[in-house]
């Protein structure tokens, strides 16, 4: 990076909050995905909106591209920046600005850690529902960029269903407010458009979220199954019964064994082909009735055993095993390729068979831990990236898994985003016209394409959207 740029950035945020030496930048070379790596040109850490605006204005003036980043826990390479790019880390903007319990709203800065928000409002009997597995570290700003999900999104919806208003710094350094605390937009639904735009439309500097009451009662059930297929069929039967569990999570044997061998051991039966974690919540009467219903379905679909968490501590332990499953796999191999795909729920049993076949053919270690209720799969491949031949096989297997999910009518990502990891898969699910529309919308917000460049949209596959009207104008 040019020294003049570094000086100018330092003048805005103070020299302490600008990093540019190689050793300092290494921290920012990756996000949560080990397969994409690049050092940014510089890292700048603004403390507030005024500093964000000043930094973005400077970068606009110099036409320097930039990437916004929260805690860097993303799993699609979305927060990775190239050497000509400035990384804006927003973790200093971590204040909860206002909480309005009567209206069930909170206004927060983007760097607030997901779990900390729920902790802070718990005394009011309220919670922020979307709970990605990385919630102890990830920021709500990052959740907004990726439209993050989590186990409890089955009943309550993903990030986009919980964001009502955003203050956004656009790439030209102007500031706009999208949406309203009520949830109705001033005009078209630009909040809905912004959430999940992977940091390519601008930087959210203030976020108004919807809060939900903490349910009066919760029941967590653990069921173990002799086959993955019977567990998948139980999932469909629960959904068809009319009960919407708060969460419905599945782990296959490889995943269970990894968890049980780790410090996160949750007491899952290691000889089960699959375990299901089902949670119902609501009023005590509702929980009683729904738990009985769900348990009946689990048993009639071949569960060997169904047990109910006996205490809050027991429940926390059951969930810890699920939420730390990715961490537990660290014992198996140094690296983990976390995949994220969605299939129609009814395709789950077949797709899991297919993944098993791909695993055997490539001689890989794959474990499945996933949001079964949503059909959102996470086949995770453990490997050592120092072995280039193995890394190639991992890439090939990932691609085959993704192709199988798309062929089953699914999508290439349910909650991790496209980033630079899945860009190549975009033409598998969107035609050139639709990709072109996305590219054109991106240019509405970011005409110079300087905001998180090189992510999500495989530009060569996008049909050009500007040419047609322009040519017509010329012809007139």
């Amino acid at each position: 990076m040019r020294p003049a740029l570094l000086d100018a950035l330092s003048a805005i945020v103070g020299p302490r909050w600008v990093r540019h030496r190689k050793a300092e930048l290494t921290t920012y070379a990756m996000d949560g995905l080990p397969t994409h790596e690049s050092l940014p040109g510089a890292v700048v850490m603004p403390a507030n909106r005024t500093e964000v605006v000043a930094v973005v204005r400077l970068l606009q003036l110099l036409q320097v591209p930039f990437v916004a980043r929260g805690a860097g826990t993303g799993l699609s390479g979305g927060a990775v920046a190239g050497p000509e790019t400035v990384l804006l880390t927003l973790t200093r903007m971590n204040r909860i600005l206002r909480v309005d319990p009567a209206a069930r709203r909170a206004v927060i800065q983007p760097g607030v850690v997901n779990a900390r928000l729920s902790e802070a409002i718990a005394p009011l009997g309220l919670q922020y529902v979307p709970d990605p597995s990385s919630q102890a570290a990830c920021t709500v700003g990052g959740n907004v960029a990726e439209n993050a999900g989590g186990p409890h999104c089955l009943k309550y919806g993903v990030t986009t269903n919980h964001i009502v208003e955003l203050e956004v710094v656009l790439p030209d350094a102007s500031v706009v407010r999208l949406g309203s605390p009520q949830g109705d937009p001033w005009g078209p639904d630009l909040v809905g458009l912004f959430v999940g735009s992977e940091g390519m439309f601008g930087i959210a500097t203030e976020i108004t979220v919807r809060l939900e009451p903490i349910p009066a009662a919760v029941r967590t059930l653990l069921a173990d199954f002799p086959s993955v297929r019977s567990a998948s069929e139980a999932v469909s039967a629960i959904i068809a019964s009319g009960v919407v569990p708060a969460a419905l999570e599945m782990m296959d044997q490889a995943c269970v064994q990894a968890v049980e061998a780790s410090i996160y051991a949750a007491g899952y039966p290691t000889d089960a082909a699959a375990v299901l974690l089902a949670e119902v919540d609501g009023t005590p009467e509702q929980v009683e009735a729904e738990a009985a219903l769900v348990e009946g379905v689990l048993r009639s679909h071949g569960a060997r055993d169904v047990r109910s968490a006996s205490s809050a501590a027991d429940r926390a332990r059951l969930w810890q095993g699920r939420k730390k499953a990715f961490g537990a796999m660290g014992r198996i191999a140094p690296n983990l390729a976390v995949q994220d795909a969605v299939v129609p729920r009814s395709a789950l049993p077949d797709i899991l068979d297919r993944i098993g076949e791909i695993r055997r053919r490539h001689g890989l270690s794959i474990s499945n831990v996933f949001h079964a209720g949503d059909g959102n799969l996470h086949p995770n491949i453990s490997f050592d990236r120092r072995d280039p031949a193995l890394a190639d096989r991992v890439r090939e297997a990932s691609k085959e898994i993704m192709a199988a999910c798309v062929a089953a009518g699914g999508s290439i990502t349910g909650e991790h985003g496209v980033g630079n990891d899945k860009m190549g898969y975009m033409p598998w699910i969107f035609d050139a016209e639709t990709l072109g529309a996305m590219q054109a919308v991106r240019r509405v917000f970011d005409p110079d394409e300087r905001c998180n460049p090189g992510k999500m949209l495989p530009v060569r596959s996008c049909r050009e959207w500007r040419a047609t009207p322009a040519v017509r104008e010329a012809a007139l």
């Binding site: 209206a103 990726e146 999900g149 999104c153 919806g157 993903v158 986009t160 269903n161 500031v175 706009v176 407010r177 309203s180 605390p181 009520q182 949830g183 109705d184 937009p185 005009g187 078209p188 630009l190 809905g192 458009l193 959430v195 999940g196 735009s197 009451p213 009066a216 959904i239 019964s241 009319g242 009960v243 919407v244 009023t283 009467e285 509702q286 009735a289 969605v342 129609p344 729920r345 009814s346 059909g375 009518g409 699914g410 290439i412 990502t413 909650e415 991790h416 496209v418 899945k422 975009m426 699910i429 639709t434 529309a437 996305m438 919308v441 991106r442 509405v444 959207w465 009207p469 017509r472």
Partner: protein, 404 residues
């Protein structure tokens, strides 16, 4: 000339004239709509889109009308995946009947006729009382097919319940009033039919009922709908507050038992055979005047917003979600009065959306009126992207930009 060109393009069966003698096309496919749009864009013709012509009234000046009525197919229903794909011209009641055959249900109860087209619900973003428990229309739409003003076909989203691939362009079309293209098909999120469906009603003064609604929320009772309706709308002598509970039987019964102990109101449970009719009556009431708008209002701002309406407008048909964020008014009022309401609402940070009105009112006020600072530029450019020649006759913004 236009008439003949359209007939040559689509065949005579798909082209007739509306009561005002404007050529009207009724294409039977997305591709056919794309052809019409491409031609209209090239020729500089203005298109007016209509379903049943009740929410986007057929009086907007245009060179041709485009009806989605031939696009009425329920393309597929996948009960196990809780997803259905439906064309935009399909009537809601037909969709509902078809889903019920599979034990499925769509959590949408928009105002208007029971046979309203899906397209009109999505284009206007009009949610009903169930917004309280299931979220607005946007939360029920997983993806769509849209034809842009210049005839391109765009297909964002997918037939799965969870998906973050690509920008969520679908959101732009929900409540976009057709400004970003003509919706031809949508993927819908379904739910299994609830096992129990119970509605209770309380009558009384507006203030007493809104206090009862607040008490109920405070007590963490969670109905699927909690709707306050004006006497004119409910066809009763007093205001009413209606609470609808959906779910497993034991849970619904427990909530019903708690209602009288947690609120000061007197509740009457509607007999099962009257429940559907009651909600349909409230929904149809929204067509009881030429103009319908909604205000975005939170639970603690409801009384204030109702006062604002009482001050600026004659009594209208009012339905308000006590905590869902929507207050809907239907009635008759001159543009100046509506402008005054919008100004007063804006001063309270309350967005106002004109959902249904004659063209003269829509043109003057716009569906959204003036946006917040800085947004007009973005919306204009989005509109240019999807409708470069402004072929689609839509008044997003009012003809005067003097308001906030």
């Amino acid at each position: 000339m236009i008439f003949a060109r359209l007939r040559a393009l689509l065949g005579p069966a798909a082209v007739d004239r509306d009561p005002d003698n404007v050529p009207r096309v009724t294409p039977a496919s997305t591709d056919a709509i794309a052809l019409v749009c491409r031609l209209a864009c090239d020729e500089g013709w203005k298109i007016r889109v209509e379903g049943l012509a009740s929410w986007l009234p057929p009086d907007a000046p245009a060179d041709l009308a485009l009806s989605t009525r031939a696009l009425d197919e329920i393309v597929s229903v996948s009960p196990a995946d809780l997803v259905a794909t439906v064309q935009a011209g399909a009537p809601l009641d037909a969709i509902r009947r078809r889903l019920a055959e599979h034990g499925m249900w769509l959590a949408m109860d928009p105002p208007g006729r029971p046979d309203r087209t899906l397209g009109s619900v999505i284009a206007t973003g009009t949610s009903g009382p169930l917004r309280h428990g299931f979220g607005p229309v946007r939360d029920q739409i997983l993806g769509c097919t849209v034809v842009t003003g210049d005839g391109r076909i765009v297909k964002p989203g997918a037939r799965v319940v969870k998906n973050v691939a690509g920008y969520d362009l679908t959101k732009l079309h929900v409540g976009g009033f057709g400004a970003f293209g003509i919706l031809t098909e949508a993927h819908l999120r379904l739910r299994a039919l609830p096992r129990a469906d119970v509605t209770l009603v309380s009558r009384g003064s507006r203030d007493a009922l809104s206090a009862a609604a607040r008490d109920l929320l405070e007590a963490r009772i969670a109905p699927a709908a909690l709707e306050l309706a004006s006497p004119e709308l409910a066809a009763e002598s007093e205001w009413i507050l209606a609470a609808r509970f959906l779910g497993v039987d034991a849970a619904v019964q427990a909530d019903v038992r708690r209602l009288p102990t947690e609120t000061d109101a007197v509740w009457e449970q509607l007999p099962a055979d009257r429940t559907a009719g009651f909600w349909a009556l409230l929904a149809r009431g929204s067509l009881g005047g030429p103009i319908t708008f909604r205000l975005g209002v939170l639970a603690d701002g409801l009384d204030d917003a109702l006062d604002l309406l009482a001050h600026d407008l004659d009594a209208g048909l009012i339905a308000a979600g006590a905590a869902s964020g929507t207050l809907r008014w239907t009635g008759e009022a001159p543009v100046e009065r509506l402008r005054a309401v919008r100004r007063a609402a804006a001063a309270r940070e309350i967005p106002m959306t004109l959902e249904r009105a004659p063209w003269s009112v829509r043109r003057a006020l716009g569906h959204f009126g003036a946006y917040r600072e800085g947004l007009g530029h973005l919306v204009d450019r989005l509109r240019d992207t999807f409708d470069p020649k402004q072929s689609l006759r839509v008044a997003l913004e009012g003809s005067e930009k003097s308001e906030k």
